[in-house]
């Protein structure tokens, strides 16, 4: 699947030797990866391995300590605030919680980016919003408030809002977390369909192996702030690497420790005074 024609412009996103530290903790160390145009690329890894940090770097919300984050030929950390905002109009980030504005209705949430960035006449704006809501099957829910939506519906509204400005790329931060199997299936299908119908590039960050592998063209596996495996989903699933096997099979034992580092168990239990 990855061998199909790719536009000559090369990858849409290139991460080159990026190191990111939070305080003294190193989250990403010398990370390099590329996201092909028009594909669904999965970035998988355990909680806290730096996946969300990676999305924040691509979106320019944080700056790396070292290395380059190139999106469509522009090095994101070097951009001025104005240029960054111009670039952000062409990308969308779907937050884990959906991040809908709780004081606006479903309709107004989806209309928000249009109202902020364009002077579209009201009848035309209504058309665009209803079309996007129809894409996610929620045209009938336009007057509901976010508090009246289920988790899956909220995420679909957020998806409609993400595509309303027709971005070149959508980043999904844990799109399947906390959803029932039906909603998971619906979201997965929509991610794939939107990618193909709109010709956009999708990055899916997730630890949900089954759903993510089903819809992605290429997958990266992260651990300890590095890439520990990559390839088509089929290749990754058959990898013999210990790291990859532990994650894909969900084993407690393996190179990724289950136990948080602590002092000797017996000493700890019988050392009366200390906590």
């Amino acid at each position: 699947m990855t061998d199909s024609a790719v536009p000559s412009a090369g990858p849409l996103v290139e991460i080159r030797d990026v190191t990111f530290r939070y305080g003294t903790r190193t989250i990403l160390s010398d990370l390099s990866l590329g996201i092909e145009r028009g594909k669904v690329t999965a970035i998988m890894g355990g909680s806290g391995c730096g996946k969300t940090t990676l999305l924040n770097l691509i979106g320019g919300r944080i700056k790396p300590n070292r290395g380059q984050v190139i999106v469509d030929g522009l090095n994101v950390p070097d951009l001025s605030k104005k240029d960054l905002f111009t670039l952000r109009r062409r990308m969308a980030l779907l937050f884990q919680t959906g991040a809908l504005f709780t004081d606006l209705s479903v309709f107004e949430n989806v209309a928000f980016p249009i109202r902020e960035h364009t002077k579209l006449p009201e009848p035309l704006l209504r058309h665009v919003v209803l079309m996007k809501l129809n894409t996610v099957g929620l045209r009938g829910a336009r007057d509901l408030m976010p508090s009246e939506l289920s988790g899956g519906m909220a995420r679909r509204v957020a998806l409609a809002r993400a595509i309303v400005m027709e971005p070149m790329m959508i980043m999904y931060d844990e799109p399947f977390t906390g959803l029932d199997p039906i909603s998971k299936g619906v979201i997965a299908k929509q991610i794939r369909e939107l990618n193909d119908a709109l010709g956009i590039t999708s990055i899916v960050v997730s630890h949900d192996v089954v759903e993510t592998c089903l819809i992605s063209d290429y997958a990266y596996l992260m651990g300890d702030g590095r890439i520990i495996g990559q390839g088509t989903p089929a290749e990754v699933q058959q990898s013999k690497s210990e790291y990859v096997r532990q994650f894909m099979d969900g084993k407690a034992e393996g190179p990724v420790p289950y136990t948080y580092p602590a002092r000797d168990y017996l000493d700890d239990l019988f050392d009366g005074g200390a906590r």
């Binding site: 919300r61 109009r89 969308a92 980030l93 884990q96 504005f101 928000f112 980016p113 960035h117």
Partner: protein, 259 residues
């Protein structure tokens, strides 16, 4: 040594936050011009922080005025100058109680609500989401709220003073039998527009900037957890109340010296 370290930490931390807050307010004010063609955003917020605060302001103003009428009459009657009650009530309200009590009530009612709202927007990633949609939350969310607070405060203070004078009149004239003509004419003759009313307005504009500024900064700077937002709300009420009382003293001193 340890105590010194802790003390130093508190001072450094305080100065650092003050600096960050000032830079944040600069960003808010500098970004406000974008709102000129979108005045409805400010109007919505004036409703939220101003109109919805009106009830508590009017009720408190009425009672404060009535208490002033009672206390003032009792004291003035001892010196046989009960006719000056109108002047006393009006001056106390316009110069001090109007701006100060309004600011304190505003901090408790609207300031805490602003901090909690902005803090929760941050905790639920709404502000981050806005940033990723290439919309600056400082301009879209913070600036309208800040400007609304600065606009609403003097208006609320004026209404507080007006209804307070009515309360004073109700008690003084209606209950205690002060002559109505004396009550109003003494007030008219003794209250100076520039020195009393305008100075009161200046005070409440400053309080509006300080209280709303603290409220929006605390919300924006809150640790995005339930505990963080609750602490931030708490800080808004404490800091803005202290700031109002301290600034009131400083401004009063400056204004009296100017007379």
């Amino acid at each position: 040594m340890n105590i010194l370290q802790v003390l130093g930490g508190i001072v450094v931390n305080g100065v650092e936050r003050l600096g960050r807050g000032t830079m944040f307010l600069y960003e808010v004010v500098a970004g406000s011009w974008v709102l000129v063609p979108r005045l409805y955003l400010i109007v919505q917020q004036v409703f939220a922080v101003g109109v919805l605060t009106l009830l508590i302001i009017l009720v408190s103003g009425l009672f404060v005025g009535m208490v002033l009428g009672l206390q003032g009459y009792n004291t003035l009657a001892k010196f046989g100058s009960a006719q000056s009650l109108g002047l006393l009530v009006a001056l106390s309200l316009v110069r001090e109680l109007g701006p100060v009590v309004t600011a304190l009530l505003f901090a408790g009612r609207a300031g805490s609500a602003l901090t909690a709202e902005i803090g929760l927007m941050k905790a639920t990633e709404q502000l981050a989401g806005m940033e990723m949609m290439a919309v600056n939350p400082v301009v879209r969310v913070i600036a309208p709220r800040f400007l609304a607070g600065v606009i609403a405060m003097p208006l609320l203070a004026a209404m507080f003073s007006a209804i307070g004078v009515m309360g004073g009149q109700m008690v003084g004239v209606g209950l205690m039998g002060v002559d109505s003509g004396a009550f109003w004419s003494q007030m008219q003759a003794g209250v100076d527009f520039q020195e009393d009313i305008l100075n009161g307005v200046i005070k409440s504009v400053v309080f509006g900037i300080v209280v709303t500024g603290i409220a929006v900064f605390e919300g924006y700077d809150a640790v995005p957890t339930s505990e963080g937002v609750s602490r931030a709300t708490n800080r808004t009420v404490v800091y803005s109340s202290l700031a109002v009382l301290a600034l009131d003293f400083i401004m009063t001193a400056l204004m009296l010296r100017g007379i």
